[in-house]
Symmetry: C2
Subunit: 350 residues, 2 copies
DNA sequence: TTTGGCACTCGATGACCGAGAGTGCTAATC
DNA sequence: GATTAGCACTCTCGGTCATCGAGTGCCAAA
């Protein structure tokens, strides 16, 4: 959208004001707070223009203007400037993330906590997409007769396991053999290329176990491998939304938290989004207000980016906040958290 | 507390009415709704008595009465009758729980979901307390140089694992030996009797690895064992509380969800409670309003019971709801869910 | 011990009013 | 042609006020 410079200034000022005060901004207060060199009447005209273009809205006749979704979009796309965080905030975030010790899962959870705390919004994380990573090890460990643990090790340094049932009388040795055979056959294969047939073909006639039993074990192993690929979405800090003036009416608050509670829905949406802007690898995905096609998020924005593990495997991290947010600040917060997370992941994986 | 029969009836009626209408109940409506054979004036006297005894409260001079915490307590302890669920609800719950397939964790989560849905409140589950269970297997699996997976198998049929770092140049064979030695030495020991010394003593001089390296491995193994004992609290359905009239004021809602968000706090409280009424094994723990010493739960009640795994290992399941709840109904809901959960756990463990 | 009656209390509801902030439009000005 | 001053108009918000109704406590009679 092509706006003349003054219109840009006006829109910028209105978004800034509205974001910080949560009150519709009128022509007069605009002059007061920003050093506009024209009269209020002129601004009124400009504002009327911006409204016609669909960038501003009026809650009612005699109130000031607020940005429309389209207005925010314009702001985000071409008006705002992202500035680095204050050193204070930087050290706070860094230390917070460093202090979350443990495995990858804990690290991601720690980053999510930190992000939610820093922004005051809901933070959102997706477990890494492992489709493209390949299998480096597969072990089946006998736990007790009839029960085994399948351990799947992936290229990205991720280890997953699943407790499975196996026929009662299969022995330790047999399991060991099966596990070796499978491993030998599918090591190095990307996860999404492994099918039940791939797994089964590993064993053709190589053992003395009846086919029907063998198939059961193979199926369980296959299921364990496939499960490693499951996408987990984790939301943190839902309660923080209640303190925002944007959701101070019970109705909105209830609806929002209800929608957030269904994290499967959010997960599905993210998946969809990812498919949509594939180009945007490694950059930001921003969805504002009605752009989000899920029910109940009209007053929200999603901002997500990716974090990186070894071998190009990526997950998502971001926030769900009110669309009336300081986009530039939130983006730099996410960015900083993401960088710290990337670093820590590298350290964990040596 | 010894009440004459009519006072009991009156208190019973008031609790019932207040729970279902959420409005202070007055003498007149009490006669209308319940077939009391006396005049409103008489009831007023009775109510005044009950108030003096601390069982009822007045929100303000010219309103009806509401039960005090003590009133609810009396109701729960000696007035209410727990009735079985309707067959409809029973099948609904049963099916819901049966449909949550997978490992123990998924099963518990499924039960929690079901319970929250059935009651409309927050459900609460605690992972089993494994202190008293003993170790049946310990395997250390080499993942790659410098990284190993410690798998701990406990008597209750629980399998836990932890990814640990080990010195880079320790070999497959060495790890195997170490793991065997530890396993041999501490199998059968209750979890809470295993100390770092127990673990270390297993290896005294039995290998060719320098002590300093060995100690690192042993420490990691020890940490993995100890981690198996971690108590996880899982809350589900927080958003449902927003729909209750009890928390329809933004302030209360915010406070409640804020408190609930700190699940560590809830976990600590439950632990404390468990220590307190040890006698009550297998029965109900009920805490009403101010009896709960945590901040932010003045208008809530906790009701929990235990679910059972093999070998006497138990976990907790229950709800956090408004203290203005249908106790008898909720208790039978919890009870039914618990029974179903117990059953499914048995099936999973064969 | 129970009851009818009565004065009193207090929150909820709705009408009303004025203040304040903002707008759109028009006509004059640069 | 863009800008500005001025003005009539609109709409929300907050406060006041009166009224209503449900409920209480207490007293005197049954």
């Amino acid at each position: 959208m092509d706006l003349d410079p003054r219109k840009k200034e006006v829109l910028h000022a209105i978004v800034d004001d509205y974001v910080s005060t949560f009150e519709p901004v009128g022509s007069k207060s605009l002059i007061e707070r920003h050093g506009f060199d024209v009269s209020s009447a002129t601004l009124r005209n400009e504002m009327a223009d911006l409204e016609h273009m669909g960038l501003l809205e009026k809650p009612h006749t005699s109130a000031g203007r607020i940005p429309s979704d389209k207005g925010y979009r314009e702001y985000v796309d071409s008006l705002m400037k992202v500035e680095p965080l204050s050193p204070d905030e930087q050290t706070k975030i860094s230390e917070n993330i460093k202090s979350s010790v443990g495995e990858l899962k804990d690290l991601i959870k720690g980053a999510a906590d930190t992000l939610s705390q820093a922004t005051g919004f809901v933070s959102l994380t997706c477990s890494p997409r492992l489709k493209k990573s390949y299998l480096t090890q597969l072990k089946i460990l006998m736990i007790e007769p009839g029960k085994a643990l399948v351990v799947v090790v992936l290229s990205a340094g991720v280890v997953k396991d699943k407790l499975v049932r196996i026929p009662n009388f299969i022995t330790d040795k047999q399991i060991f053999d099966i596990s070796n055979a499978i491993e030998k056959n599918i090591t190095g294969k990307p996860l999404d290329e492994i099918t039940l047939i791939t797994v089964s073909s590993a064993l053709k006639g190589g053992t003395d176990i009846p086919d029907s039993l063998l198939n059961q074990v193979l199926y369980e192993a296959y299921a364990a491998i496939k499960q490693a690929d499951r996408m987990d979405v984790y939301l943190e800090g839902e309660h923080r939304m209640l303190s925002l003036p944007d959701f101070s009416s019970m109705g909105r608050a209830t609806q929002l938290l209800g929608s957030l509670a269904d994290d499967g829905m959010v997960a599905g949406y993210l998946n969809e989004m990812e498919a949509q802007d594939k180009s945007n690898q490694d950059s930001y995905m921003i969805r504002i207000g009605q752009e989000i096609t899920l029910e109940g998020f009209d007053d929200c924005s999603f901002i997500t980016t990716t974090y990186n593990m070894a071998d190009g495997v990526q997950g998502n991290i971001g926030v769900i906040g009110p669309k009336r947010m300081e986009y530039s600040k939130v983006i730099s917060q996410i960015d900083f958290v993401k960088k710290n997370l990337d670093e820590q992941i590298k350290i964990i994986n040596e």
